[in-house]
């Protein structure tokens, strides 16, 4: 999944959901999750998941992004179902609908709220150094994601994933990742030098209302 695209949608769209203050959306999300956690009704769960999809459509959020993200936890759910004995269809439906509804709500929140705005709101309750680490990671994802694409291309040029030669495949992948790591760490040192010059002291400040 392309984090670039998720970020692009959350920052550039101008729908009513995108314009709603992050605190209000966060409170609504907590409330929805709390209700879904105790809900045993597949109808209610399904309605919430359906609402998430309808809201996404109304806010011009592509379903090609929302739906795959919503469906990802079904992999975890499949493991749970495989490990269960005597599971009824009703229970499976209730759990699946609950998981889809919660994930749909979370993903809709992320697709309509920029990461810096989320981290800025979290900064009111979390210690400064954790919020700073969140901002650094977010920034680094975009700085280095081209590099990981290069790793993917380099792997492709060397024959991609070859199941007949797993050791050679892992070796190629490891060398490419090792090179990428070293390159990224060098970049982080340049970043650190500029932070030092700007007087960084374990905290990043987010200016609300300015995206």
């Amino acid at each position: 999944m392309d984090l670039y695209y998720i970020d692009y949608i959350s920052v550039t769209n101008r729908s009513f959901l995108h314009r709603t203050p992050v605190g209000v959306k966060m409170a609504a999300l907590v409330l929805i999750i709390a209700v879904l956690m105790i809900s045993k009704s597949p109808t209610l769960n399904g309605a919430v998941a359906g609402c998430a999809i309808l809201l996404a459509l109304a806010c011009r959020i592509p379903l090609t992004i929302l739906v795959p993200l919503m469906l990802y936890p079904t992999v975890f759910l499949a493991i749970l179902f495989l490990s269960a004995k005597g599971l009824t269809f009703a229970a499976a439906l209730m759990l699946a609908s609950r998981v889809l509804a919660i994930t749909g709500s979370v993903v809709l929140f992320v697709l309509s709220t920029s990461y810096p705005a989320i981290f800025g709101a979290l900064g009111r309750v979390l210690p400064g150094f954790i919020v700073a680490a969140l901002f650094f990671t977010y920034r680094a994802i975009f700085v280095i994601s081209d590099g990981i694409e290069n790793v993917r291309i380099a792997m492709h040029l060397r024959g991609g994933i070859n199941w007949r030669h797993p050791l050679s495949t892992l070796r190629n992948f490891g060398m490419a990742l090792g090179h990428f790591l070293v390159h990224s760490i060098e970049g982080s040192r340049r970043m650190a030098d500029s932070l030092k010059v700007r007087g960084f002291a374990n905290r990043v400040y987010y200016l609300e209302g300015r995206r």
């Binding site: 999944m1 749970l80 009824t88 680490a133 901002f135 993917r152 990224s184 650190a192 932070l195």
Partner: protein, 232 residues
């Protein structure tokens, strides 16, 4: 293992709240309630390595949705104190895009940081015992990931009475009377162990080989990163 493979809505409130509380307590102790500081260089390194973990975890190998973590390699480079923060950051970002649950972030952070920290100390011990960087990297990764899987399995085992209640809740709500001899829905812990440790063991070895290659490469290009380990 890197995550407890449970989505939101399965674990009881007290258990996932306990996960968050435990993480808050450990971070508060390790970082002296936020009074401890780190160099800008450590923050930048933490950001870059957490970002690499997020990006690598998003590269899935078909058809099993299997992904590498680079948790132990990151743990070896960052050291224990920063690993704890990296584990939290990675899990928060992944949970926001549906990869793992929001409610499970606390326990997932503990599982991931256990992998990283145990991997870090195992690597240091094994290199002191005279093993080469690549061999020590391989065994440290296997030890770290195995510990993470055990911890994840233990959390699920502890939660199993409540998970069983969730699995059989629709029948009990409707007052359904089970036929004689029928057993209500429950988690088969033996089957779960088979899935987690069976499939997991293959993953540990694959990630172990990958980590060995990466650490061997880094030790040749940037030896101080894996020699000293601790960046603090």
């Amino acid at each position: 293992m890197s995550h407890i493979h449970l989505p939101d809505g399965i674990l009881p409130l007290w258990l996932w709240a306990a996960g968050y509380a435990l993480v808050a307590l450990i971070i508060s102790l390790v970082w002296r309630r936020g009074r401890a500081t780190a160099e800008p260089r450590d923050f930048a390194l933490l950001g870059v390595l957490s970002a690499i973990m997020v990006l690598v975890m998003m590269i899935e190998i078909p058809p099993l949705s299997f992904h590498f973590n680079l948790s132990v390699v990151t743990g070896i480079i960052l050291g224990p104190r920063l690993s704890l923060i990296a584990a939290l950051i990675v899990n928060v970002i992944l949970a926001l895009i549906g990869h793992g649950g929001i409610t499970v972030v606390g326990w997932n952070t503990l599982v991931l940081s256990a992998e990283m920290i145990l991997g870090y100390y195992s690597f240091r011990l094994l290199t002191r015992l005279g093993l080469s960087v690549s061999r020590a990297g391989f065994f440290a990764t296997v030890i770290g990931l195995a510990a993470g899987t055990f911890l994840a399995y233990d959390v699920i085992t502890a939660a199993s009475p409540w998970i069983n209640r969730v699995l059989s809740s629709p029948s009990s709500r409707l007052g359904e009377v089970l036929p004689t001899g029928a057993v209500s829905a429950h988690l088969d812990l033996e089957r779960l162990a088979l899935i987690m440790f069976g499939v997991g063991a293959v993953g540990w070895v694959l990630e172990g080989i990958l980590s060995a290659v990466i650490l061997s490469y880094i030790s040749r290009v940037y030896p101080e990163l894996v020699r000293s380990g601790e960046t603090e």
